[in-house]
């Protein structure tokens, strides 16, 4: 499938800031099933900084903006040719050992109902079956409801509420997978949500679990499926914060607001 992506993140600062520094994971992964035809990231008034491919295979790009500024737009545009790999991440070069993804973070701390939910993997005949069972269990336990949670909601809190968005689903799945000794990571990217390509308010997120023999396999509990040719993978981390497409810091004291619009469109070749 040929996916067209148009992703704008708009930062507005209540009072002009003296400078902004950002770190982006906004470049599609190099792996089977996604081929970048063209891709461009722009930052208003931005100076491109150092870029490098990290140990997990993500392209990380630094940016800085000289102040004073009151508004910054990060604009991502591109076309990616995708194919279905049944969720299996192949041809992706990385050096980080899977064991590194067994560690807890604040967002994925194994508390509340999480240990109980983690039992969903009991009796599974192998790692892959356990992963599927966990993904299903998370889908059932956390209903999709936009606005029910916020960016700082933890996995345990989302589970307790029984509702959330893709970030919460991915956090919960990471937590319960790690509880079963399965390395798991949070993945951020784009998803073609519906045929019309109506814009969303956020990019998408899912999880990858490590299955010996297969390697990393994607699971999207928000949609109860494995990523296919509707997905574009950007980067990964232990949780949403680590895998965030944009991390930034402004030299200011005032509040900032954030507006995100993501449009993913499928076109005829």
């Amino acid at each position: 499938m040929l996916l067209l992506i148009d992703h704008v993140t708009l930062y507005r600062y209540a009072s002009p800031v003296r400078g902004v520094v950002q770190s982006h994971r906004l470049t599609p992964s190099i792996c089977e099933g996604q081929q970048v035809l063209d891709w461009e990231v722009t930052v208003t008034g931005g100076l491109k900084g150092g870029g490098f491919r990290d140990g997990a295979g993500d392209w990380v790009q630094g940016w800085s903006v000289k102040g004073p500024v009151s508004e910054i737009a990060v604009h991502v545009r591109g076309r990616v040719q995708t194919a279905d790999t049944a969720g299996v991440l192949r041809g992706h070069r990385e050096i980080v050992a899977p064991e590194c993804y067994l560690g807890e973070t604040f967002a994925t701390e194994l508390t509340g109902g999480l240990p109980m939910l983690a039992k969903a993997a009991e009796g599974a005949e192998d790692r892959l079956a356990a992963a599927h069972a966990l993904c299903r269990a998370v889908s059932e336990a956390v209903a999709y409801r936009p606005g029910a949670t916020n960016a700082h909601t933890t996995a345990a809190e989302a589970l307790d509420q029984g509702e959330g968005v893709c970030q919460d689903h991915a956090h919960v799945l990471c937590a319960v997978a790690r509880a079963n000794g399965i390395p798991a990571r949070y993945v951020s990217g784009y998803l073609l949500a519906d045929a019309e390509g109506a814009p969303h308010e956020a990019a998408h997120a899912w999880a990858e679990l490590f299955v010996p023999g297969l390697g990393w396999v994607g699971f999207d509990p928000a949609n109860e499926c494995c990523p296919d040719d509707r997905y574009v993978r950007l980067g990964s981390g232990l949780d949403a914060r680590e895998a965030a497409p944009i991390r930034g810091s402004a030299r200011s004291s005032g509040p900032e607001t954030l507006d995100v619009t993501v449009a993913v469109l499928a076109t005829q070749q």
């Binding site: 400078g19 520094v21 950002q22 770190s23 100076l47 491109k48 900084g49 150092g50 870029g51 490098f52 491919r53 990290d54 140990g55 997990a56 990380v60 790009q61 630094g62 800085s64 000289k66 990385e94 050096i95 980080v96 050992a97 064991e99 590194c100 067994l102 560690g103 914060r241 991390r247 930034g248 810091s249 030299r251």
Partner: protein, 470 residues
């Protein structure tokens, strides 16, 4: 516990390296000693060498007690130590490059994967990165104890930002000022090249993108930090700026410091801040101490950070057990300096032994430092031991245990005159383009009679360390 080795004597005769000091000690009248001690203290306070103990409150300008009785090594003793220290520093750096690369030592089954990859000090953010000159730990502080005429053991490694080197330099300065005659009578190797070697070491690891004489800075958490004196002391000696996180900023591909003449590019950062605080975008977003965007510049070769983020995984107390294995694996050599036998409470056999023998052992937290969170079995009450037992049982993986070593003692001035007190040694090995070590180090002394805890935060003192010339 066996009788400990007194470094001044061997079978009731004075050992050769101490011969002149022994005579000096005998000849010194008590009132002169008291006067000199007071002089030293006044000097230290005037210069401002003080040490604030974390979280203890009290006098923020407390002095680290300075003992005027030097500790002495012969040329030959030091030669062996030096080889052993450098060997260890090389192995530790090879290990760091390896575990952030392909992890051959793990693949070879010589060290368990979980010990490395699930270690809190392992930074996967730097996996796949080889720092300039392949060095992760540029200043390796190796804590060594002595138990006999030829027996030395490594107690622990400090690969991040070992502190205390200012005390090594100031102790020497103080001794030369107060007792110049001693330095005429004894031929003592100088240590005052240290700062020049440190500066050269740091400059030698400038990043690839640096095409000019590198600008080196020291990054301090700030003047409230207990080691601030040392940070400013080293900056002054090296003639480099002492910066805080707020003095640095990232623009484009580089890091700059804010100066009265505008931005000035920085090439090498000798940081005295923990990994977690150094780069808020990458690690702790709430850190006010670090520099947003620093990791992107670092990983894209715009700046060098010393020690490199992630170096801490090599000085973890659980990883420590495997350092002799690293020496064999990476260098193909036998370790010159031995480890203290160590039991990993995380292993069930070891745990059983440790719990059985608790009153005889020293138990430490795997990630602890500064002498906190440790149990010295033979020096503890029954209640203290039982309390510690409960802590170990609750989280065995967090503890290691070692036999209580009969730490050597050296003569030390105390209220009653001169008496033996236990000591350890921390030499500072510099690793850059070359490996350098000044002859000597920081000797820490447990001033309380019989105490084995030498940490300055726990009432330890320091003394000058002499290496005699050939």
């Amino acid at each position: 516990m066996t009788q400990s080795f007194n470094e001044m004597y061997l079978d009731d005769t004075v050992r050769a390296p101490y011969a002149r000091l022994e005579a000096w000690m005998r000849a010194m009248p008590a009132d002169l000693r008291i006067q000199k001690q007071a002089e030293a203290e006044a000097l230290f306070r005037r210069i401002g060498i003080t040490f604030a103990v974390y979280g203890e409150g009290g006098d923020p300008d407390r002095l680290i007690p300075f003992d005027m009785f030097p500790r002495v090594f012969t040329h030959n003793e030091w030669a062996r130590l030096e080889r052993g220290i450098k060997q260890r520093a090389r192995a530790l750096n090879a290990f760091l490059v390896d575990v952030y690369g392909r992890g051959e030592i793990i693949r070879a089954g010589r060290i368990p994967a979980n010990l490395v990859y699930q270690n809190a000090a392992y930074e996967k953010a730097v996996a796949g990165f080889v720092p300039s000159k392949g060095v992760y730990s540029h200043i390796v502080g190796i804590d060594i104890v002595r138990t006999g005429p030829t027996e030395f053991f490594v107690l622990e490694d400090n690969c991040r930002t070992p502190s205390g080197v200012s005390y090594m330099l100031e102790s020497r300065e103080m001794m030369m000022r107060m007792f110049p005659d001693l330095f005429r009578e004894n031929r003592i190797e100088p240590v005052d090249r240290y700062h020049e070697l440190l500066r050269r070491t740091l400059a030698s690891v400038a990043p690839a993108k640096c095409d000019h004489e590198p600008t080196v800075v020291i990054l301090t958490p700030g003047h409230f930090n207990s080691a601030y004196y040392e940070h400013s002391f080293l900056a002054d000696l090296m003639g480099v700026e002492l910066v805080e996180g707020q003095d640095l900023f990232v623009e484009g591909e580089f890091v700059y410091m804010r100066t009265t003449q505008g931005p000035k590019r920085v090439d090498v950062i000798y940081r005295r801040i923990d990994d977690a605080f150094i780069a808020p975008l990458c690690f702790r977003p709430d850190s006010m101490l670090g520099v947003p965007g620093l990791m992107d510049v670092y990983r894209s070769g715009g700046v060098s950070i010393c020690s490199a983020p992630g170096a801490g995984v090599a000085d973890d107390k659980a990883v420590y057990t495997f350092v002799p294995e690293m020496v064999r694996f990476y260098l193909g050599e036998e370790p010159i300096l031995n480890n203290v036998p160590t039991w990993q409470c995380g292993k069930s056999d070891d745990l059983k032994y440790v719990l059985d023998q608790l009153p005889e052992l020293v138990v430490k937290e795997v990630h602890g430092s500064g002498g906190y969170g440790m149990l010295v079995g033979p020096k503890s009450t029954k209640d203290q031991i039982e309390m510690f037992r409960a802590k170990i049982v609750k989280d065995p993986g967090n503890y290691i245990a070692q036999p209580t070593l009969a730490l050597s003692a050296t003569p030390t001035f105390v209220a009653e005159g001169v008496a033996p007190r236990h000591v350890d040694l921390r030499p500072y090995c510099l690793v850059g383009e070359r490996i350098e070590l000044v002859p000597g180090g920081l000797t820490r002394v447990a001033l309380t009679e019989g105490s084995l805890v030498v940490n300055s935060s726990q009432g330890g003192g320091v003394k000058d360390t002499w290496v005699l010339a050939e």
